[in-house]
């Protein structure tokens, strides 16, 4: 088959859009001897090559697995529509980029699912591979189909399509899975037996082993494990110490969404913003030492030749050695004329010393995330920074030579008033005035105003999603209020947010809707030009399911939520306490100074302060 695939590529690739997506052969690509490798994993990213290639999660697993002598990992991304049509026309199955082997010939296919709008592409990729869409339809010949990534913290809507999910971090558990699959292959055991064994690995969720019963009103009555009545939850995995960072990043031969050395300096976040799913599900905080970060940066720039370096974390300026790291970054970037980007800085910890390390450097965009327009509302979402602090930071930024400022806001918070919306306008106008005084006409301010999506595993998980009219009215207030200021406003398409709401807050019954929407032609839903909400609404109708049940309905505090059997290690009591504090406008300070008993320490028997720093 590989020969047929190669002949097909040789002849037809020139006729499709962006053919470089399907060519492979990047610098640092690892091609192993297929015949001599015991266990084979395909790492699948259900969006285009350009989006998927820089994905750090996939890079980490590619690195981890290919370090083993007995295993190989190859990559596959979702072919664009024209290529899908061409492959179907010529009966070419979906193949890996490295050895050009059909996906069906791998032992395991692992999908990376960082967000929900990729679900229809996941179905396209299974279908193009000739693999049955549903776990229950697969035979002994089919690979094991697994998924991981942040979206899997509510795996239910896609649960029938996957054989297993990895909940949480994959660095360790991927090896346990491959070991098991290798033994299973050697012993010639059945698929069923493999799933039973996978079910014993902590952090693995086998959806077919859980049954969900419903009340007549549609609410969940019970979620139970079929064989193990005592197993109520699957608890996420995390690594106590972050492994050596990836340094041999793949260097693409065509342009991708970002091309840079990305070193994750810290995982987890201590701020506890109540809307932020990432901040809840990635606890506890684990830093990499400044030495390790700088050594990795150096080695990665040498091995990739990339012209930009980036430090990743949810809250970069909170790293205990950030000044040291920044000094090192400046040295490395100056020596080789590299640009650098530093996302996720916090107003609270963005100190003058830190700013000083960046002196004399060409200034790109600077981002501040006030999230809400008034201090009162910011307290309710636990983002306790004052207008004065925001203004002071912005002023300092302009003084240091930055001209482009980006501000992140959200609307749709509980009990949000028009005064809160006016707060966004006032704050932007004040920042604009300060910037104008200091740097004049070169000032550019962009604001991005998202609509809150009350995500699973956050204190806001019970909240309804905002309705269309209210949302539209608030956006109108903001754009009217900022008229003639030259401030550019980005906002999401409401229909697109709704899709994210359904898919992130739904239950198993949504699988039929997803499959029907896919059959209706939904694909690349994350792409505005492809997304068609009519296909989704039609699918809800066909399946006789009311989308509002998942979107605009406030959930009862004692309701069994679709993801209640998936544990992030954070206790539900903590989420309830945080929700109540939010209603009172009470903040929970940074948990490095005071522990709020979120459950991470007790559930995992760990000490956060011991895991936090490494020197």
């Amino acid at each position: 088959m590989t020969q047929t695939i190669e002949t097909f590529l040789n002849r037809y690739l020139v006729t499709v859009s962006k053919p470089g997506r399907y060519a492979g052969g990047e610098f640092n690509q690892i091609v192993k001897d297929w015949g001599k490798t015991a266990v084979r994993l395909a790492l699948a990213f259900p969006d285009t090559y350009e989006i998927g290639l820089p994905n750090l999660g996939l890079s980490i697993l590619y690195d981890q697995v290919n370090r083993r002598d007995d295993a190989l990992a190859e990559r596959v991304y979702c072919p664009w529509g024209d290529m899908q049509d061409l492959m179907r026309e010529h009966q070419i199955p979906l193949f890996s980029l490295e050895n050009k082997v059909p996906l069906k010939d791998f032992d395991v296919i692992g999908f990376t699912l960082p967000y929900e709008s990729l679900y229809t592409n996941l179905l396209s990729m299974l279908d193009l591979s000739g693999i049955p869409l549903r776990s229950c339809q697969r035979s002994e010949k089919d690979p094991l189909i697994i998924a991981g990534g942040h979206a899997c913290f509510n795996p239910e809507p896609i649960s029938p399509f996957l054989d297993a999910f990895v909940i949480g971090e994959g660095e360790e558990v991927i090896h346990e899975i491959l070991d098991l699959v290798k033994d299973h292959k050697r012993d010639g055991a059945t698929r069923r037996e493999l799933l039973r064994k996978l079910d014993d690995i902590p952090g693995l969720y086998i959806p077919s082993f859980f049954e969900v019963a419903y009340h007549s009103n549609g609410l969940i009555k019970e979620i139970r494990h079929v064989f193990k009545p005592e197993k109520h939850t699957v608890t996420k995995r995390f690594v106590k110490e972050l492994p050596e960072p990836v340094t041999n990043f793949l260097v693409p031969n065509i342009q991708t969404v970002n091309e840079r050395v990305s070193i994750e300096i810290m995982r987890g976040c201590s701020r506890g913003c109540r809307f932020c799913q990432a901040g809840m599900i990635t606890r506890p905080i684990r830093e990499r030492s400044a030495n390790q970060v700088l050594a990795a940066l150096k080695s990665a720039t040498e091995s990739t030749g990339f012209e930009e370096i980036s430090l990743l974390s949810l809250s970069t300026s909170d790293h205990s050695q950030i000044t040291e790291i920044m000094q090192g970054v400046m040295e490395i970037s100056q020596a080789r004329q590299l640009a650098f980007s530093l996302p996720s800085l916090r107003v609270e910890s963005f100190t003058p010393e830190l700013i000083a390390t960046m002196a004399g450097k060409r200034k790109g965009n600077f981002t501040i995330a006030p999230e809400a327009g008034s201090q009162a509302l910011r307290s309710r979402i636990n983002k306790s920074i004052s207008d004065e602090e925001i203004l002071a930071t912005a002023t300092q930024i302009f003084r240091m030579g930055w001209t482009n400022l980006k501000l992140y806001f959200m609307i749709g918070f509980p009990d949000e008033t028009d005064e809160d919306i006016q707060g966004i306008i006032d704050l932007c106008r004040q920042i604009k005035a300060a910037g104008k005084r200091l740097i004049g006409g070169r000032l550019k301010i962009h604001i991005s105003v998202n609509t809150l999506i009350p995500k699973a595993h956050t204190p806001f998980q019970w909240l309804p999603f905002s309705n269309r009219e209210e949302t539209a009215r608030k956006y109108r207030l903001i754009s009217d209020g900022l008229r003639k200021t030259g401030i550019q406003i980005d906002r999401p398409d409401f229909r697109h947010s709704l899709l994210e709401v359904w898919l992130s807050r739904g239950d198993r019954r949504l699988a039929d809707v997803i499959e029907t929407a896919w059959k209706n032609g939904a694909k690349f839903d994350a792409w505005n030009e492809n997304f068609d909400s009519q296909k989704w609404l039609a699918a809800f109708q066909t399946c006789n399911i009311d989308p509002e049940f998942y979107a605009s309905r406030a959930r009862e505090m004692d309701e069994i939520l679709p993801w209640d059997h998936i544990s992030s290690g954070i206790s539900k009591n903590f989420l309830i306490r945080e929700y109540e504090k939010s209603r009172q406008g009470e903040i929970s300070p940074d948990c490095r100074s005071v522990c709020h008993a979120c459950g991470i320490q007790s559930n995992f028997m760990i000490s956060c302060s011991e895991l936090r720093t490494r020197v």
Binding site: N10, R11, L13, G20, G24, G25, V251, N253, Q255
Partner: protein
């Protein structure tokens, strides 16, 4: 120092555009441990100059690029270290040191020689020869490309076909490749009745200055 690299670009790099190839050179130099010179100004650009863009999907056997490096590493060392740092699909044939004030490459390119391989060896060779003959006999070949009408005939400077070992058929073509006039071999192939999936275009070499006899 200014060096001129003669290189081939084939296989999986067939689908990489000229801009992305520039980036590949920039990164390769960095990986190899050399330093490129940068232009002055607010947005410094690496000093790299390709002779002529090779369209997507073509193979190139002797493509040319000039790089300006800082310092003066030995040519052997440059070839060795760059070769190790290049991705699969580009390989260096040779390099030469060029005087700093030599004319710029793009201005020197006049023509390209192509060899077009037919994928299917079962093609009727006599028929192809016949078609070439009648095509060359035409005085004009009006065609439309990207919505523009033009005459393809004067862009065909040389056209021939040959059956080579193993029954495969190759078509040879010389066309202009300068900023004023650029011929696209696939247009000739379309005129001969072929489609994209029937052939592979290989640019054998770029011809600088006056065409050789």
């Amino acid at each position: 120092m200014r060096i001129r690299i003669v290189f081939s670009k084939t296989a999986n790099l067939r689908y990489t555009s000229i801009l992305d190839v520039q980036k590949i050179w920039e990164r390769t130099v960095r990986r190899a441990g050399f330093y490129l010179q940068y232009s002055q100004g607010f947005h410094p650009q690496a000093k790299i100059q390709a002779a002529n863009p090779l369209p997507l999907g073509y193979d190139g056997l002797e493509e040319l690029v000039d790089l300006w490096l800082t310092g003066g590493p030995a040519p052997d060392l440059i070839v060795q270290q760059l070769s190790e740092a290049l991705p699969d699909g580009i390989s260096i044939k040779r390099i030469e040191i060029v005087p700093e004030n030599a004319p710029s490459l793009p201005k020197q390119v006049d023509f390209s020689d192509y060899c077009i391989r037919l994928h299917d060896s079962e093609q009727d060779f006599a028929g192809i020869l016949e078609k070439i003959k009648s095509l060359l006999a035409r005085e004009t070949l009006p065609r439309t490309r990207n919505g523009k009408n033009y005459d393809l005939r004067p862009l065909i400077l040389d056209l021939a076909a040959e059956r080579i070992s193993g029954d495969s058929i190759e078509i040879y073509l010389r066309m202009p490749s300068n900023p004023g006039k650029t011929g696209r071999p696939e247009e000739v192939m379309f005129e001969l009745g072929f489609e994209w999936q029937d052939f592979q275009i290989v640019r054998r070499r770029l011809i600088l200055g006056e065409p050789e006899p």
